[in-house]
Every structure is written in C-alpha cells, then in structure tokens.
C-alpha cells in the first residue's frame, strides 16, 4: 500500500492512517528563538481541534509528537512549532522548504474553547506552552464577543525566548484583550515584568466564579499556576492543563504515555485539573 501526501477522508482509511504516516511537504519555516522553529506543512485536507498534536516523522530517525500551533479554521498548511532538543526534533527543525516529512494525526483532546462561551477566559502559557495554546487564542480572538474578559498571561525564560513576538505585539494592539508577559530574568533593555508567571495571575481581572483557565507549559509551572488559580477561587473543573509524557504510538497501544490511570495520547493531552490534581502530587507517577 503506497501513500503520497494526498489521502482520502473516509472513516476506515482515517483509522488505518493513524498508524501509518502520510508523506507531507514543508511549505515554510521560520526561526522563532535560538532553539525553536515553526514549520508549516502541506498535508492536504486536514481538520484538527485546538490542543491536538501530530506525530511527525524524520526519515531514518523517528517520530515525535508536535502540537499544532496554527488556526484550526484556516485552510492551508498545518503549522507546527518545534523545539530542537533531541535527534528527531533537531532533524525536523532542519528540514528545508519542499522537503518531505511523515505525518500522522491529529491525536488527543481539545481545549474547551466552544464550551467556554459566556465565561472569562485566562490563557496561561509558559515557555513553549504558548504554541499548543495559540490555536485556542486564535479562536477566542476570532469570536471575542462570545466571551467575557479574555487575558493571555505568558511567562518565559528571558526576552530572547519570547515566542511569536511580533504576533503578540499585534495582539497587543487589540483593545479588548489583556496581554501580560513576564520573564524569569532579563537585561535592562527589557521594560516588562520580571518574575514568575503566577504573579501575573494575582493581578489579572476575572470573575473566579465564571472563569475558564487554559494552562500549558513545563509541568512545574502548570502545577503552581493551577494552585494559584485555585487560591484565586477558580474551581478545579474550570482549569485545563496540557500534559506531556513519553509517546511512541499515539494510538493507546504502546503504553508509554501512561500517567497513572490516564493515557495521555487518548485521554489528553488537554485534561481537567480535578482529574489531574491527585496524579500531579504523586511523585514519579
């Protein structure tokens, strides 16, 4: 059975395709920071929800899970933001325009964007965590009138590590969203906040009884952010985290992404904090 990068959308084929990659092509690449790139990939017709991920394949090396970081409603190539931390991610970030890349997906659960209409929404991103949240941000901004207060709180290592900087500056020009950025440390050219992202939660404006929080970043940061959100009075059922574990198959058959009772490829990555809280406090789970 040969596959090129066009594929049918029948249900049976989709189930099979989830196990075998299609071949897509890199349409464009952009360097975001010293170790992070955004690749847009032509994969034909492809629908996804904000928060979902694909398995991208680097020839001869292997597959890695990569969050979709583009607008789920926009037609055109699929946008992925990748940090080069290992052999496969490094190889994928070095692909050139026109290069083939293997692709399987989309997998995983979605940010509850449609279900949060009528609520205030806090989007809390740490480091690379802004990438899996960006599709949700696009949807929130596109249908702004359906939500209450909307705020993006973004923490990262230093000003040089700010992702999507120009886009954030464009977002900042909107009058109807609050965007606060903080860094762990900075030189004096930075005039913004310095300190942990949880400090931004203390200063954000929202009604804790009618707020949904979407949180994505390193696990330590998510734990402390969730704790600060709880202290601020938001119920655990209204807080969503995007979890991460080792992943090989993405179809709930290899066992690697287990997190206690949860299979992150199937029950996550986006999960509700009421379910996660007892698991997050267990060490080495």
């Amino acid at each position: 059975m040969r596959r090129s990068f066009k594929f049918s959308t029948s249900t049976v084929r989709m189930a099979e395709l989830a196990a075998v990659p299609t071949v897509a092509r890199v349409r464009s690449r952009r360097r975001e920071t010293h170790d992070t790139w955004t690749l847009s990939i032509d994969a034909g017709e492809f629908a996804f929800q904000p928060g979902q991920f694909n398995m991208l394949y680097a020839f001869g090396i292997g597959e890695i899970p990569v969050s979709l970081s583009g607008d789920p409603v926009a037609a055109g190539p699929l946008v992925h933001t990748i940090r080069a931390v290992g052999d496969a991610s490094r190889a994928i970030t070095q692909l050139k325009v026109g290069d083939p890349v293997g692709l399987r997906g989309p997998f995983g659960t979605a940010w509850p964007v449609a279900d949060s209409t009528g609520s205030d929404v806090l989007v809390i991103a740490g480091g690379l965590g802004l990438a899996p949240l960006r599709p949700a941000i696009y949807r929130l901004f596109a249908e702004r009138e359906r939500y209450g207060q909307v705020a993006l709180l973004y923490g990262t290592r230093s000003p040089a590590d700010i992702l999507f900087r120009h886009e954030i500056e464009r977002w900042r020009r909107r009058l109807d969203v609050s965007i606060e950025i903080t860094v762990d440390h900075a030189d004096l050219a930075w005039h913004g906040h310095v300190g942990v992202v949880t400090r931004l939660i203390d200063r954000a404006i929202f009604d804790p009884d009618h707020t949904v929080a979407l949180v994505c970043g390193p696990e330590i940061m998510m734990r402390f952010a969730a704790s600060a959100l709880r202290t601020a009075g938001i119920a655990p059922e209204c807080i969503y985290l995007s979890m991460e574990r080792n992943m090989k198959c993405a179809i709930a058959q290899c066992g690697h992404c287990q997190f206690g009772p949860v299979l992150i490829c199937r029950d996550g990555a986006v999960m509700r904090y009421d379910r996660l809280q007892p698991l997050l406090t267990a060490r080495e789970l």
Binding site: R2, A18, Y57, N246, Q253, P261, V262, R266, L285
Partner: protein, 376 residues
C-alpha cells in the same frame, strides 16, 4: 451441558486433530519440552507434546518432573504465552523509501499466517481477550494483531493440574474455559486410558470434530470432567486477597511503605513483563539502510521496567526502582481498569514463578491490604 452435546475424543482422535489442522494449512502451536520447561512452539504431531510430565512452580522456581501417568496436559503454564504468536515480539509497521522525487511510506501487509493453538488454558483465553481489548477494540485496531487473531483456531484445555503459583480462581478467570475457543478439552482418566471430554463453541470447531473419530460422552465421563475442574479450582497454589477491592486499594496507597520494601528486592529485570500474557507495551525502532534509501519502522516488545521507558526532557519520569515496580503492579491490577475496563491480571502466576527473586504480587497486595493507610 446435556450429555448429548458433549463428545469424547481418544488420544488417537487427538492425534488426528493435530493432523487435520495441519492438513487445513494451519501452523499448529502447542506445548513442547525445551530447556527444561514447557514452551509453546510449533508441533508436528502428538509426539511433540510433553506427555507424562508435570511442573512444580513456586516463587522464583520452576521444575519439571515425571508424572505417574500418561496425561498429555498434566502441567500448568510455562514462561512463554500465546502473545508471542499474536502480539509478536517484533513487527515491522512500515518502511519509508527515499528518492530524488521525495519519500514514500509503504505499510507492512497484514500477515496471512493461520495459527492453531493447542492447549490454551482458561487464564490464557482471558489474557487473549484482555489483549484484544487493548489492540483491536480501541479506536485504532492493530491490523497485524487483528489479522492473526481473526484467523486463529483455538483448542482450549481445562486445567487438571494447576501450579503452585496459579490464582485464576480468585481472579475469576478459570479454571474452566468459558469462551473464546473453538473446542475445549478436559483430560480424564489419565491414570488408565487418557481421553478428552470435548466442548464445542464454534461452527469451525464442530466441523473439525466431525472429521475425527469421536463418540458421545457417558454421564460418568462428564462427571469425571466436572470433577477435574472442581478439583483444579480447589488446588490453586495461591489466592489474590479481596480481588474486587484491589483496584481501589492500590489507588489510595501510592505512597505505601511497601513499595520501598519491594523495591529493595526487585532487580527491575523485567522478566515479569516478558512472561506476562497481557503485558502489551512496545517501542519502535527506526532502522535506516546504510545507503540511506530506505528506513524501517519496527515495533518491538518493551517493558515499563526499562529506564528509558518513561524518558522525558532529558531524564526518566520513573527513575527509581520503587516507581517502576509500582507502575507495573498498579497498572496490572488497578489502572488497567481505568484504561481498558478490565483487570490486566488473569492469575496465571507466571510473574511469581519467573521472578528471579520470587516477588509475589498476591503477597504484595496482602501486605498493602494489611496496613492500608487510608480506608475507602
């Protein structure tokens, strides 16, 4: 079952059963004797079976000894399970071919092999059903496992001689074979002229039996078969304590001091995961050819005891032996329920027998139960 529906197969008839399956182009797998253990492998005829042998199993111990009779199936289970043939240890999933025009991905075709299993015990039937749930009843069925599974012909055997580490009765997975087979045999009269009382479960089983010399079972023979099964349930070597409460017990005892204690003994060798008939974890290797023209994507068995099983961000999430032992045992007995709606354990006892230091999960559960740190 009414007497009219049960037949008796003699040893001669059983020999013809094996021949008939081979004549139908099945690859026949059954118990053989190798390396001082009962190992499921290809069998050509009745002569390949470990007739007249039995096993003595204890924690960390396995010995074969001669029986006083000629029973064909007078032993329990050995280190190999049927997963070796269904969820095979190594399976190419696809290969990527690279050329000037780009890349093509070629999926591995489904296997055409037809397998016939002889001597599948009740715990093993349940184990196969457990793996079915994981591998073909989810949203992305594994086509290779499914193809082998759909084509397999199963001759089950009701245990007459449970092992010292068996606990299927307390797990409610045996000793009687309840389904998932084509024919089930209960060996009776092993001390005189061994023969089999046959249960038929499928059309294919009925069709095969029709080709073999058989007769109706007498009421004595049926009673003898029932006695074998009842005795087997009585002779279990072990029990899983309070089996119905185990999932919740382990869920609320993730910090029990027993985990540290068992970690002091566990070598994290992973034997338990290799012999367990339900362990399904795999990893993938990418194997490029030296000239870079093709790369194979090959799935192989993995174990949660491996250090890099939980590798993330430069290290393992489960680095300590304590966390890895806890992962295996709580997955098998507790979180498997959350993930797949059943227990992962079928009470076959292999993990107890083949652990080099004799760790016994029934004993570990009992220890946690005894000092349960917080009642439900």
């Amino acid at each position: 079952m009414p007497a009219a529906q049960r037949s008796v197969l003699t040893i001669a008839g059983f020999a013809l059963l094996v021949d008939a399956l081979r004549a139908r182009a099945y690859r026949v797998i059954g118990p053989t004797l190798r390396d001082q253990a009962v190992i499921y492998d290809d069998i050509g005829s009745l002569a390949d079976l470990p007739r007249g042998w039995t096993d003595k199993q204890e924690a960390g111990q396995y010995r074969l000894t001669h029986r006083d009779d000629n029973a064909l199936f007078g032993y329990a289970v050995g280190p190999r399970s049927w997963k070796k043939f269904l969820h095979v240890p190594e399976q190419r999933l696809w290969r990527a071919e690279r050329s000037a025009e780009g890349m093509h991905v070629v999926a591995e075709p489904e296997p055409a092999e037809r397998l016939a299993f002889i001597g599948v015990r009740s715990c093993e039937l349940r184990a196969i059903a457990v793996q079915d749930r994981v591998l073909i009843e989810g949203s992305h069925p594994d086509p290779h496992y499914r193809a082998r599974r759909k084509a397999v012909f199963v001759v089950a055997v009701n245990c007459s001689e449970p092992g010292g580490t068996c606990f299927c009765a307390s797990m409610e997975t045996g000793p009687r074979a309840e389904g998932g087979y084509d024919l089930a045999l209960t060996e009776i009269a092993a001390d005189e002229e061994p023969r089999f009382v046959v249960d038929i479960r499928s059309e294919a089983g009925a069709a095969l039996l029709r080709e073999l010399p058989h007769r109706d079972a007498t009421s004595d023979e049926i009673a003898a078969a029932e006695t074998v099964i009842a005795e087997a349930a009585r002779k279990m070597g072990r029990t899983m304590p309070a089996a119905a409460e185990v999932p919740a017990l382990l869920r609320r005892n993730l910090d029990h001091p027993r985990w540290e204690e068992v970690a002091g003994r566990c070598l994290t060798c992973g034997n338990c995961t290799m012999v367990c008939p339900t362990c399904f974890c795999t990893t993938v290797d990418d194997i490029p050819a030296l000239d870079g023209s093709v790369s194979e994507h090959v799935q192989r068995w993995d174990s949660c005891f491996a250090m890099d099983f939980s590798y993330l961000h430069g290290g393992s999430v489960r680095a300590s032996p304590r966390s890895r032992y806890r992962q295996w045992m709580t997955h098998k007995l507790s979180t498997w329920w959350d993930q797949f709606g059943s227990s992962g354990c079928v009470g076959c006892g292999r993990c107890i027998t083949w652990c080099p230091v004799g760790i016994d999960i029934t004993e570990e559960v009992a220890a946690i139960h005894a000092t349960d740190s917080s009642k439900a």
